[in-house]
Amino acid sequence: MGAPFLEVRNLQTHFSTFGGSRVVKAVDGISFTVREGETLGLVGESGCGKTTTCLSIVGLLPAAARVVGGEIRLAGEDLTKKSQREMRRIRGRLVAMILQDPMASLNPLFSIYTQVAEPAYYHLGMRSRSLRRRVEELLRSVRIPSPAMRMRNYPHQMSGGMRQRIVGAIALAGGPKLIIADEPTTNLDVTIQAQYLDLLKDIQQETGVAIIFVTHNLGIVAKMCDRMAVMYAGKIVECGAVRDLFRAPQHPYTKALLGSTAKLGSKEPLFAIPGQPPDLANLPSGCAFHPRCSEAMQRCSEQEPETVQCGQDWTARCWLTHTKESLRHERASA
């Protein structure tokens, strides 16, 4: 596997409202890496900071939000220091994004050709015939039948699955090294979803693009991703290889998420996580998960755990892992 292409270190993105009197720490000190050609799953429930993380990377945060600390290194350069003008040269060329709702990301007034051609026009400097050929090629690569005819269509003439494939073609148009896909299949039907996921895998194999897959669906992670990062209340609570995390989850939240998903053909009662996800403006003390955690101890409500290494390329943020690891160290030294 290649060197880290994207390296996020201690990223903090806060929303401040009411003139700064109310601060919501949507992303609170997260670190992760994405290697070339790899797929990282970013998993968590709504409001845990997944989308804010992605928007911080591409520099498209809403006005109230600001990156207040940490760095985002993409191909060696720190994106947090870039001006909006410089970011425009990076978005589309190095990083592209696929959003959840294709109708919201496509412009209903422009033809498919115009929209797919735009990134190639600006970033690759393509014009006239070569541009047309490029668009045709892109549409073919996302399996749009008769692309030469279809590129004259408008978004409303296409089905939901096709629109999402068009968005995929736009994302690929600038030849990016990283695609951030924010719940791209939530609005699609199951068979269309399966087709889309297979398509993304094929594209990845052909172009070697790295993908960050934002989702709350662990099934998609199991199918698509090499590594996963589980987020809870603005922090990454566990991060590692998908196989390791599914086999032996360290953090109780990862365990609970895995237990709460219905498995095909199993009638066993689901493991329900009690309570609600916390309000980010008013977080519980200590570990943010402790009020819902089945293994919470006295210490969890008082002190926040640090991220510990619990295997090769595997970290967790839980006092249980701390205890386990320190025991192992003691045993090793003895």
Binding site: G161, V190, I192, T261
Partner: protein, 322 residues
């Protein structure tokens, strides 16, 4: 076994499509539901699964009498609901209730939770104010909420809690069948499990029947005893939940199973053999509706509509392969 709670026979619903001009000419029909047959036994759950536009929700509306069928009958506890009038109709509406997908749209933001739950009771019973309050407290406790929440407004609750309030409202009258139209699709994963467990617990304690509509096979298979698969208005396969997951017969059911996401990264994944998208219901394919996407299509499939055959006890499939 006692008589089924609900018996649906040869149900059809066609919607006219107009030109939209002043003349309002009819230019065609959307056959939303064609040939649907199933039964729901007392205290059991039937899962109805299919992709958007396959007629799941129209079927639910027909059962709830929000739409009248073009043809076919729906029998509730042995009685044809098409002929119900007056008091008998009110009795039916009391016994059959619904929970919708979006708990933000289905609860009035201007009413207190207690009033929301009491509304069906005010219509269907002549309880006094005190008795109403008592019943509201009772059903709130059934869904695991404190009776004190009756004084609050819906915006003070999360999606999962709102869905519980909707379930409490559905239970308030002496409900024997609840139509659950994608009740957990809008919820977060951790909350989804809470609500599914809650629904299963309510069925065990109250013996209420469910028609559970969904598109996620794993969830539907978890809660249902039997599953019916729909495709473009046709019921293509119906079987016991375990049987359907272990031996899917119809190529569409097989495709749904392949498309279902794996529970573990080590699960071997087949590639989906079906291609293309769901055809428009305005111009459905001839013969078997699925033949345009089916990997096993034969010449016969495009001309002849397959009839549902029982291939094993309790397992019926509509496909020329069997």
């Amino acid at each position: 076994m006692s008589a089924p709670v609900l018996e649906v026979q040869d149900l059809q619903k066609h919607f006219p499509v107009g030109t939209g001009s002043v003349l309002r000419r009819k230019t065609g029909w959307v056959k939303a539901v064609e040939s649907v047959n199933f039964t729901i036994e007392a205290g059991q759950t039937l899962g109805l699964i299919g992709e958007s536009g396959c007629g799941k929700t129209t079927t639910a509306k027909l059962i709830l009498l929000q739409e009248r069928p073009t043809a076919g009958t729906i029998k509730f506890e042995g009685e044809d609901i098409g002929g119900l009038r007056g008091e008998a109709l009110m009795r039916y509406r009391r016994a059959v209730q619904v929970v919708f997908q979006d708990p933000f749209g289905s609860l009035s933001p201007r009413m207190r939770v207690g009033d929301i739950i009491a509304e069906p009771l005010e219509i269907h019973s002549d309880l006094t104010r005190a008795q109403l309050q008592e019943r509201v407290a009772e059903v709130l406790e059934l869904v695991g909420m404190s009776p004190d929440v009756a004084k609050l407004f819906p915006h003070e609750f999360s999606g999962g809690q709102r869905q519980r309030i909707a379930i409490a409202r559905a239970l308030a009258t002496d409900t024997r069948l609840i139509v659950l139209d994608e009740p957990v699709s809008a919820l977060d994963v951790s909350i989804r499990a809470q609500n599914i467990n809650q629904l299963e617990h309510l069925q065990d304690t109250l013996g209420v029947s469910y028609l559970f509509i969904g598109h996620d096979l794993a969830t539907v298979a978890h809660i249902s005893q039997r599953i019916a698969v729909m495709y473009l208005g046709h019921l293509v396969e119906i079987a016991d939940s375990a049987e359907l997951c272990a031996h899917p017969l119809h190529p569409y059911t097989q495709a749904l199973l392949i498309a279902a996401l794996p529970a573990h990264p080590d699960v071997k994944q087949e590639r989906l053999a079906i291609i293309g998208e769901i055809p428009s219901a305005l111009a459905p394919p001839s013969g078997c509706r699925f033949h345009t996407r089916c990997p096993h299509a034969m010449p016969r499939c495009s001309t002849e509509v397959p009839v549902s055959k029982e291939v094993a006890p309790g397992h019926a499939v509509a496909c020329h392969l069997y």
